[in-house]
């Protein structure tokens, strides 16, 4: 006889601790640090989406920053409305309201738009597997800045679009950085729960079965076409929300806001955190935000490396993870906590 509730109870305890930490963090840190933790939330959302696609469904994407860019531009154009952005001889579409939309409402719209685009990209991607898909998404990531520059009547071209800092709603008396922090983590919390519900249920089982053996999945009545495009759509919607939040937090967007490097580092962080594990995503997001900073100026030693030290450390860490702990940080965590949970579950 074992105590089966110990494992879930511990998980719930850790989650509750995380929520408390996130809520009270703004009281403990400076506004500058707070901005960094807002970016952590944004990366957390993007990595949740990438993990759904690559981790749970086995479809590799090297172009998620391009989907973030779609979300970012959608939000920016909606926030600015017709007046805000420069027109080069072309009238904007009539659906864009003249005076813009309150920033927070642009976030779900950006998610929706990016989700639809991702779903549509998922249709041709159905014919691609493994390396071909990685290639195709890589090409999307490389081409995105050129496309954004070409359609400058909508995107502002290389000059980009500047966004106002949003004020907190309902007369809430907090500064814009604090409001953005809560907004980003609120979205991250909701999307985490959605992702958790998705991957633990029927849909998640279908995704994993396709990843582990497409032929076997088909034989069991799981349609790869339906579930793979669904994974693409949902994953892109996550990227779109992250991109919208990024643009708002950054107060600025141009074709280089979401470079190829970001696409590559997103995949790297997903692997470092641990593929097909939701708990590892937070580690991936922290790594993506803070590793570049600490690689340049290690906190322990009194040295200051060049900016290029960050990618070197990132690449080496990624290669070491592939060699030494294929499960990423989440895999390591699982290996460390399993004996503890097992010991606690055993009835003496």
């Amino acid at each position: 006889m074992t105590r089966r509730w110990v494992g879930p109870a511990l998980t719930a305890l850790v989650l509750a601790g995380a929520v408390v930490l996130i809520v009270f963090l703004p009281r403990m840190t400076s506004e500058f640090r707070l901005g960094q933790f807002t970016y952590v939330a944004i990366y957390f959302i993007a990595l949740l989406g990438l993990n759904i696609l690559t981790g749970y469904n086995g479809q590799i994407s090297l172009g998620h920053a391009a989907f973030m860019a779609v979300g970012g531009y959608t939000a920016a154009v909606l926030i600015l409305g017709q007046e805000g952005f420069k027109l080069v001889g072309q009238e904007p579409a009539e659906i864009i309201p003249k005076h813009g939309i309150t920033p927070i409402w642009t976030i779900p719209i950006a998610g929706l738009v990016t989700g639809v685009i991702g779903y549509l990209f998922g249709l041709p991607a159905l014919r691609l597997a493994g390396v071909s898909l990685a290639l195709a998404t890589f090409a999307v990531a490389v081409s995105m800045p050129a496309i954004a520059k070409r359609f400058e009547h909508l995107t502002g071209g290389g000059g980009g679009l500047s966004l106002p800092l949003p004020e907190a709603p309902f007369g809430w008396d907090i500064s814009p950085p604090h409001w953005l922090y809560y907004e980003a983590w609120g979205a991250a919390g909701i999307l985490f729960v959605v992702a958790w519900l998705l991957v633990r249920g029927r849909v998640g089982r279908a995704w994993r079965s396709i990843r582990d053996g497409e032929v076997a999945a088909v034989s069991s009545g799981v349609s790869p076409a339906v579930y793979k495009t669904l994974a693409f759509g949902i994953s892109s919607a996550y990227a779109g929300v992250a991109g919208a939040l990024f643009a708002i937090q950054n107060s600025y967007i141009n074709p280089d806001t979401f470079p190829l490097t970001l696409s590559i580092l997103l995949l790297a962080s997903a692997v470092i955190g641990g593929l097909s594990s939701l708990s590892g995503v937070i580690v991936g997001a922290l790594v993506l935000e803070f590793l570049p900073i600490y690689a340049q100026e290690p906190p322990v030693f009194d040295v200051n490396f060049a900016k290029q030290a960050a990618p070197v450390v990132f690449g080496v860490v990624l290669m070491l993870i592939v060699f030494l702990m294929p499960g990423g940080a989440a895999g390591l965590l699982r290996r460390l906590t399993r004996p503890i949970v097992a010991a606690a579950s055993r009835r003496s």
Binding site: T54, G130, A134, V142, K307, G315, M319, V322
Partner: protein, 299 residues
């Protein structure tokens, strides 16, 4: 946008397209060499090429003449390619495809950073062994540099073909690509053949880098765009076909150049997305490419 269509102008666009295409073909062939043997697309191919091109620049900066620096760089590239296979790829060769892809991405990130760290992020000029003048052939001005680039790239491709076709070592390498298990039973040292394949791929990449650098200038990110063209070329020709990679590279170079020159919508900015569109179209309509083998999936 030319006002009137002129044949001499058209021919000029074709020849400069062929020169660019020869560079894409070299890098595409490097990708195919590795794909054939290791069954993985090496995303770090472009960064390996950039790194070796910077080594060549360093030699020349220290006063070495062009061709000795060129030869020395190729030797270093070969050793580097073999080393990468031995150290990074060998230990994980039996793991799933996605793991090896991620390994090459790790190498891409690290090498890109390392290049910038060692040599700085600023753009550098890179000498060309060929003069920046042109010769008139039948009323068409053709750049000597274009001709030189084309000849060097294609010359190396022909040398490589002769090697694979007429030497025992080449035969052994082809055998490994065709059937590694049977080759091992016949006494071929499969592991070393794979490493040699990576070495040759690195050499091809180094040549592509050194030929591209005089035109696009030397900086740590210079090969990323070339790599995309090479991917598109390799996929167009069939990712497992060396002939396809070369034909695909030349074809892509010419077509992209012509589209950029004559189709107003494409212009200069949309050349890269056009290559992407080619890549996607081929992958969706004919995944095996022009010359590729169809892989039959067994249940």
């Amino acid at each position: 946008m030319p006002l009137a269509f002129a044949w001499s102008d058209f021919a000029q666009q074709v020849t400069s397209g062929l020169a660019a295409g020869a560079i894409y073909a070299s890098l595409a062939l490097a990708l195919v060499l590795i794909y054939q043997t290791t069954n993985v697309v090496n995303f770090a191919q472009g960064e390996m090429a950039t790194f070796t091109t910077f080594i060549a620049w360093m030699f020349m900066d220290r006063g070495l003449p062009y061709w000795p620096a060129f030869a020395l760089t190729l030797l270093i590239a070969f050793a580097g390619g073999v080393g990468v296979e031995r150290v990074l790829i060998r230990p994980i060769e039996h793991r799933p495809e996605i793991v090896i892809v991620i390994m090459t991405i790790g190498l891409l990130i690290a090498l890109n950073g390392l290049t910038g760290w060692i040599w700085g992020p600023e753009v550098k000029a890179f000498d060309s062994p060929f003069p920046n003048s042109s010769v008139i052939v039948g009323g068409v001005a053709i750049s000597v540099r274009d001709i030189g680039t084309f000849c060097v790239c294609l010359g190396v491709v022909v040398l490589l073909w002769l090697f694979f076709r007429f030497t025992t070592l080449g035969l052994a390498m082809r055998a490994v690509a065709f059937n590694p298990d049977a080759s091992r039973l016949m006494g071929v040292r499969v592991g070393w053949m794979l490493a040699l394949g990576w070495g040759f791929a690195a050499v091809l990449g180094a040549i592509a880098g050194m030929m591209a650098a005089p035109t696009i200038f030397l900086d740590p990110d210079m090969m990323i765009v070339v790599l995309i063209y090479a991917f598109a070329a390799a996929v167009l020709g069939g990712i497992d076909s060396p002939v396809g990679a070369v034909v695909g590279g030349l074809l892509l170079g010419v077509v992209i150049n012509l589209l950029g020159a004559y189709v107003n919508f494409v212009g200069n900015e949309l050349r890269l997305p056009t290559a992407l569109a080619v890549l996607l179209l081929v992958l969706v309509i004919r995944p095996t490419g022009l010359f590729g083998r169809r892989v039959v999936r067994r249940v």
